[in-house]
Symmetry: C2
Subunit: 323 residues, 2 copies
């Protein structure tokens, strides 16, 4: 048996970036984190990316000569074909940053570039909740809702780098909520952690709830507080949680009737709500989806947590050298 | 240059089935039609399929020995992997019909089996409005709304034969219309020809319109009447038409944010409404879709008419023998 090839994946976020060495089985051999500090400018950001990759190798007791390819995942907007970040809301004031070419020129290794949610989808597919499935759709539930689609073992990037923008599938026309993207009626405008809080506040304005006297986890109301209050039997919180599950079931149903994947995986901070929330999503699906996909599509929570991005970025690196 | 290979595609509908010989360039050399007569039972249906295929060869002055593969497209429900029609609403009382194996056993040729809307998508991709594009999403606007997705040159079938069921993507929660599928809020419940008529009738109950005294084309109100009245400046009809365009723009936007294809093609009877209707759809898209796909995705009407199905079925046949 030949020795395992090793890759480094890097997942760049608005606050910090995480990098790790990953082997051919999707197993992480290291995991380090550096602050992104986007306000220090994009050259600083690019240098930090290279530093994080080198540090991940060092932490695993390796040199860059042991690494066969690297993968970098970032938030959008982006052009996946050219490897540029374009105008990223979460990395201001960066603009038109040639991530892939810069990293490749510094590290002299095959370099993959991917959207962060797509990379997390790839990570879960390769080494997490989606392992063993043929195709997968991933929703990441955080401040916003990201998405990623894995078909035939690869990310569905789309022709204009907009594949899997599943937070912005429209689910409502009559009385649509405003989304962070500026449009209305998007799934994200209903079911992100931010919107769970917003919807709870709106309901609290006219209804009593334990949340009015809740010991707030973070000083102000969070999605976790709403889920905790629901667990304690608070009717208002329970309704918000159940509606959120219904919205996510609609999102899942819409990809069942479009992609029809083996598995739909939910990740991101909100899955800390645990198995009862997953069960709520599952219960709503037969109401909205056709019987066959409703019965057969696997609905799962992600298992890699915040490592999914760098592991998935490493999977994209691997795809450059393993055919 | 070697002589062209020839295929036969067959498109089975609830009323009639259409078959034709198609060459490697997607050019049809014949096109014949036979009544489906589903009430005569599935054995009769299977025999008619084989007869239609043989007749298509004869009409082109060929024998079956000149044909390298055949493709059969039918309405669902179906299992694409096993080649069965399961419980087709439009082919009652057929049930669990082994279409692919039967046709193959009778004709002794490689035999492809595909959903009719998927086949039409493939036809338009190969030889119609989608020619030259890398990926395509197709909506067929008739009694219902069918869909088909072409990625990497092949139909996205999905894991459970439900890929591209785009008429059943949900676009409304608050006040959702009942869909023919039994669920609510589906695109089809808003924008099919049947629903255009239904929505016009509902509006006519409380508003004046030229449609109250319209010389009906088919004895009762049809989608064509509504489109014609809109062309004549009738305010009610114009609103119905414009709302229909908006619903289709939502459907298009949802696939832009999922698949992000090169081209979105609308086909089916309703596109007889012509270029002004296409322009209305295009105008609504920037309201609902992200700027990049809204600006770059090509929005087109189908060009193959009712031949798209058999030409696409032939494309699926060709895919069995040309790698």
């Amino acid at each position: 048996m030949s020795p395992q090839r090793l890759y480094i994946g890097l997942d760049v976020g608005g606050t910090s970036m995480k990098a790790g060495v990953v082997d051919d089985n999707g197993h992480a051999h290291s995991g380090i984190s550096l602050p992104t500090e986007p306000h220090k400018g994009q050259q600083h950001g690019l240098d930090t990316m290279c530093a994080a990759i080198r540090q991940a190798a060092a932490e695993a007791g390796l040199t860059m000569a042991d690494i066969v390819a690297v993968g970098v995942a970032t938030p959008g907007t982006m052009d996946l074909k050219t490897g540029y970040i374009l105008d990223p809301p979460n990395l201001k004031p960066w603009r038109d940053v040639p991530v892939r070419d810069y990293v490749r020129s510094q590290l002299h290794l095959p370099t993959a570039f991917q959207n962060d949610a797509n990379a997390a989808a790839m990570g879960e597919y390769w080494a997490g909740a989606g392992r063993g499935y043929h195709s997968l759709v991933f929703f990441t539930l955080g401040t916003g809702i990201g998405g990623g689609i894995i078909l035939n073992g690869a990310v569905l990037e789309g022709e204009h780098s907009h594949g899997g923008e599943l937070g912005h599938v429209k689910i409502e026309m009559t009385n649509p909520r405003l989304c962070g993207c500026g449009k209305v009626g998007c799934l994200e405008a209903y079911a992100s952690a931010t919107q769970v809080v917003k919807r709870a506040r709106e309901a609290m304005a006219s209804h009593k709830s334990l949340l009015h006297d809740w010991p707030l986890t973070d000083g102000e109301l969070s999605a976790k507080d709403v889920f905790d209050a629901a667990d304690k039997g608070d009717a208002l919180a329970e309704q918000i949680v159940d509606e959120t599950a219904y919205y996510l079931a609609l999102g899942a149903s819409n990809v069942m009737h479009t992609i029809d994947p083996d598995a739909i995986v939910f990740g991101g901070g909100m899955i800390a709500a645990g198995e009862p929330f997953l069960e709520r999503i599952r219960r709503h699906i037969p109401r909205v989806a056709f019987p066959v996909p409703a019965a057969r599509t696997q609905i799962r929570f992600a298992t890699l947590g915040s490592d999914a991005g760098f592991i998935g970025a490493a999977a994209c690196a691997r795809a450059l050298v393993v055919k």
